[in-house]
């Protein structure tokens, strides 16, 4: 019996359509190939931190959030999503399910903006401390 689950891209056509509609106004778009690449990155990231994510919704949550960032261009949009997602799982490892997915992404985005489009180790540490001390 399988332990991991990698969702197929055909599952996300509707989500992709919705998120592209949302981010188009910021001048961004994601293709099926982008989603394929991000799903592979997602798996690498959560595996790196000893985690598992049962679906790929976080990709679209992050994409929607980052689309209006002043620090992103379309050429590096996918790479920034992948990097942000990696930080997301790094934080998730230590904060577990204390925050909803979108709440954590929102908190990360605040720190990301405050840090001029970077989420370095110190930033990640501060986010973890913020979440842990809040409950």
């Amino acid at each position: 019996m399988r332990q991991n689950n990698i969702p197929s891209t055909t599952d996300f056509s509707l989500q992709l359509h919705d998120v592209n509609y949302e981010i188009a106004q910021a001048g961004h778009q994601l293709s099926n190939e982008d989603i394929n690449k991000l799903i592979v990155c997602q798996k690498q990231s959560y595996t790196q931190f000893g985690l598992i994510d049962i679906h790929a919704n976080i990709i679209f949550t992050i994409a929607s959030k980052l689309a209006y960032s002043p620090y992103i261009r379309q050429v590096d949009f996918v790479d920034v999503i992948a990097s942000f997602m990696n930080s997301y799982y790094a934080i998730r490892k230590y904060v577990r399910a204390r925050l909803y997915d979108d709440e954590l992404v929102a908190l990360m985005y605040q720190h990301y903006l405050h840090n001029h489009g970077q989420l370095d180790s110190e930033c990640i540490y501060q986010i973890i401390q913020t979440v842990r001390s809040s409950k």
Partner: protein, 447 residues
């Protein structure tokens, strides 16, 4: 011999059944993938439930435990095992719910069983027995979660049963609630057996301690084995229900038993008539070991190593292993001693207190006396009391029937876990040869 008390559909797990049907060609790859998809759906639902719907991310460790818990629940469903054609994807969710409900009922049943066992606890001060009864069963129940941690069992269940520790039998090849239940069922059966001899148990344990020279408190001892062995020997006597044997009865048995197998078969045959079939079948787990013990006893004429009997009173000192004083009386004595100001008066208070040896040891450990008072106290003690003090603070010197001497080398070797031990050793070193000899003779009686 390690048969489970309740086997119950242990032959095939869910995964085994799927593989078996695949081998027999009754299920194809498409159907297996459909079943896997259903399992994944259930797992996803449980992950969200585990995270209170806040996140879709979970640790890999927790996810694997959830996955194992799902399979564990499916392992406990009889429906598809009775009728394998029902093993289809669209029934998986239903089977899971059946399995989950079965486990919940089993957990509830274990709770009631644990409460009943605790209420019917035997009056034996054995640490492991008491720990399993009062803590381990309840800790297991508290920590157990059928949905997320169904295969976990952190408890060792280290009170050895009739056929030994669960660990020695690879925890019976069971996990989770099955393991706890199997152990509890065996424990229950043993406890029921021990209750048949409840009115003799305390005395028998006391005699055992006297004979072996050690308290049962920290021993890895099985209470049923203690009673069963004694019962098997008693089966050859006119009154088989009397387990408290005399030395005369011991000597009679030593003369009578000449063939281990013959006697063991006879004893078990007579035992079979006195206990219920389930208990009897369970007691057979001890038979092989019993025969080996008999062979040793016959060849070395050492029945007194196996049979517990009443040791003669003359020239034997009964030392107390139970506290004689309640807490309030004990504290009164301590207060009275502390209120006295001079050395003589304080020492006299202790001497006239009628405290048991355990209470005296506790008072000496409390450091309410200064060095001069300890020395004065020891000087006023007779040989018997000095021997008892020594016996209690150095029990290791009396193990396996040995008795120490009070020569300078022995006293020098002994450790001083407390300051007053040093003072006692110093005092013993100053005794004349005659008194030392007297104490060493008393040591012989204290075995």
């Amino acid at each position: 011999m390690n048969e489970l008390i309740h086997a119950q559909y242990q032959e095939y797990s869910f995964t085994d059944m799927v593989h078996k049907l695949q081998k027999e060609g009754k299920i194809d790859e498409v159907q297996i993938q459909a079943i896997e998809s259903e399992l994944v759906k259930i797992a996803h639902h449980l992950v969200l439930q585990y995270n209170h719907k806040r996140s879709s991310t979970i640790s890999l460790h927790a996810y694997k435990q959830i996955h194992r818990s799902i399979l564990y629940a499916l392992d406990h469903v009889h429906t598809y095992k009775d009728n394998p054609s029902l093993l289809q994807a669209n029934h998986i969710e239903c089977f899971y719910q059946q399995g989950f409900q079965y486990i919940e009922k089993q957990l509830e049943s274990l709770k009631h069983q644990a409460l009943r066992l605790e209420k019917q606890a035997l009056h034996v001060e054995n640490e492991r027995y008491q720990d399993v009864l009062h803590h381990q069963f309840f800790d297991f129940i508290k920590d157990y979660h059928p949905a997320y941690k169904a295969t976990l069992c952190k408890q060792d269940f280290d009170y050895p049963l009739l056929d030994g520790l669960a660990l020695d039998h690879q925890m019976y090849g069971l996990v989770g609630l099955d393991l706890a239940q199997e152990y509890a069922n065996r424990f229950d059966l043993e406890q029921q057996f021990c209750h048949l001899y409840e009115n003799q148990l305390e005395t028998l344990v006391h005699w055992y301690e006297l004979q072996k020279g050690i308290s049962v408190h920290v021993l890895g001892l099985n209470i049923m084995e203690l009673l069963l062995r004694q019962q098997l020997f008693a089966c050859l006597l006119p009154n088989p229900k009397k387990l408290l044997l005399t030395k005369v009865e011991l000597e009679f048995l030593a003369r009578k038993i000449t063939n281990a197998n013959t006697f063991a078969n006879l004893a078990y045959k007579r035992l079979q008539n006195s206990i219920n079939p389930e208990m009897y079948t369970y007691s057979l787990r001890f038979k092989e070991r019993f025969v080996q013990e008999l062979q040793i006893a016959i060849s070395h004429q050492s029945f007194d190593s196996f049979i517990i009997y009443e040791m003669e009173d003359c020239n034997k000192v009964q030392f107390q292993v139970h506290h004689a004083m309640d807490n309030d009386s004990f504290l009164d004595i301590v207060e009275q001693i502390e209120q006295e100001s001079c050395t003589e008066a304080r020492v006299q208070r202790l001497l006239s207190s009628k405290a048991s040896i355990h209470d005296v040891l506790d008072i000496l450990d409390m450091s309410i006396f200064n060095q001069e008072e300890y020395e004065t106290y020891f000087c006023k003690l007779d040989s018997l009391t000095l021997a008892l003090l020594f016996r209690y603070i150095y029990p290791e010197e009396f193990l396996f029937q040995q008795t120490p001497t009070l020569d300078a080398d022995t006293l020098h070797r002994l450790e001083s876990a407390r300051e007053w031990y040093t003072l006692l050793k110093k005092h013993l070193g100053t005794l004349d040869a005659w008194q030392r000899q007297e104490i060493e003779q008393i040591f012989q009686s204290l075995k």
